[in-house]
């Protein structure tokens, strides 16, 4: 049963990942990415990371993808989304890198020796993560909030009118 669900989820994740890159229209790519996020959340559930599965759905599928869709529709991109000239080179390099990784993982087999016996969970997944987040990882947690603040201010400033518009200098003369 576990193998079957992994096979299904893994196949769909790999296929939709390739579709994201292969689709010519950005809206189709975003939809393929949505399917991939749902199946990654399913994979997280099978790995007993229920909290992250929920966060994956809320943040990735709910917020990030809607932002992408919003921008794709706002910019109304024309149909000139061709690939780069060096498609074959890119595919060849990707295939080479993938072969290397698969070869290393399948021959070395080191990670299997590190696998530990599962201890019985003392608390639920969310409680455990929350406890780790507010004790061991308290400082990184604060830094993460600072990153979000900076990103928020940066996004507002960058998307504001006039920063790169016709009345702002740097990019005008290159038209």
């Amino acid at each position: 049963m576990a193998t079957l669900s992994f096979l299904y989820l893994g196949t769909v994740i790999a296929l939709t990942a390739i579709l994201v890159v292969a689709f010519r229209k950005p809206v189709y790519s975003v939809m393929a990415l949505l399917v991939m996020f749902f199946h990654i959340a399913g994979l997280f559930v099978t790995l007993h990371a229920e909290f992250l599965a929920a966060v994956q759905l809320i943040v990735y599928a709910g917020a990030i993808l809607v932002l992408y869709l919003f921008v794709v529709m706002l910019l109304n991109v024309k149909e000139d989304d061709s690939y780069q000239r060096q498609v074959k080179l890119g595919l060849g390099l990707g295939l080479l890198a993938l072969t290397q990784v698969v070869y290393i993982v399948s021959t070395a087999g080191a990670p299997e020796e590190l696998v530990r016996e599962k201890t019985a969970p003392v608390a639920g997944n969310t409680e455990t993560i929350g406890h780790a987040l507010y004790t061991t990882y308290l400082f990184p947690f604060e830094v993460a909030s600072l990153i979000l603040l900076v990103a928020m201010i940066g996004a507002i400033l960058l998307a504001k009118k006039g920063i790169m518009g016709p009345d702002a200098g740097p990019l005008k003369e290159s038209k």
Partner: protein, 100 residues
């Protein structure tokens, strides 16, 4: 029980797909989407290791990776909107102001 290496290979497939996407696509929105693919590939790896090594740190790290991904998307899309407003294109081949 599924071997840990299966998860690593799945993650490698998704990651390499993202790299190829960055290399071959011209639309800058698609390049940003491919970066999302790579971030998700690392997340799969982190959660798989967290489960197999029985250590919660991997899941906490995914939480932080998610924060950074959200910030990256917000800033990246704002840059794309500003670029589109200034140059009226999302094709990276035409954004060659800093090309030597």
């Amino acid at each position: 029980m599924i071997p840990l290496s299966y998860y690593m290979i799945l993650s490698a497939i998704v990651f390499v797909t993202g790299v190829v996407g960055v290399l071959i696509r011209r639309n800058i929105i698609m390049i940003l989407l491919s970066i999302e693919l790579m971030l998700n590939a690392t997340n799969i790896n982190f959660v798989a290791f967290s489960y197999y090594l029985d250590n919660i740190a991997g899941q906490v790290f995914v939480f932080f990776a998610l924060t950074v991904a959200a910030a990256e998307v917000a800033v990246g899309l704002a840059i794309i909107i500003a670029l589109h407003r200034g140059k009226a294109t999302v094709n990276v081949a035409e954004l060659n102001l800093m090309k030597w």
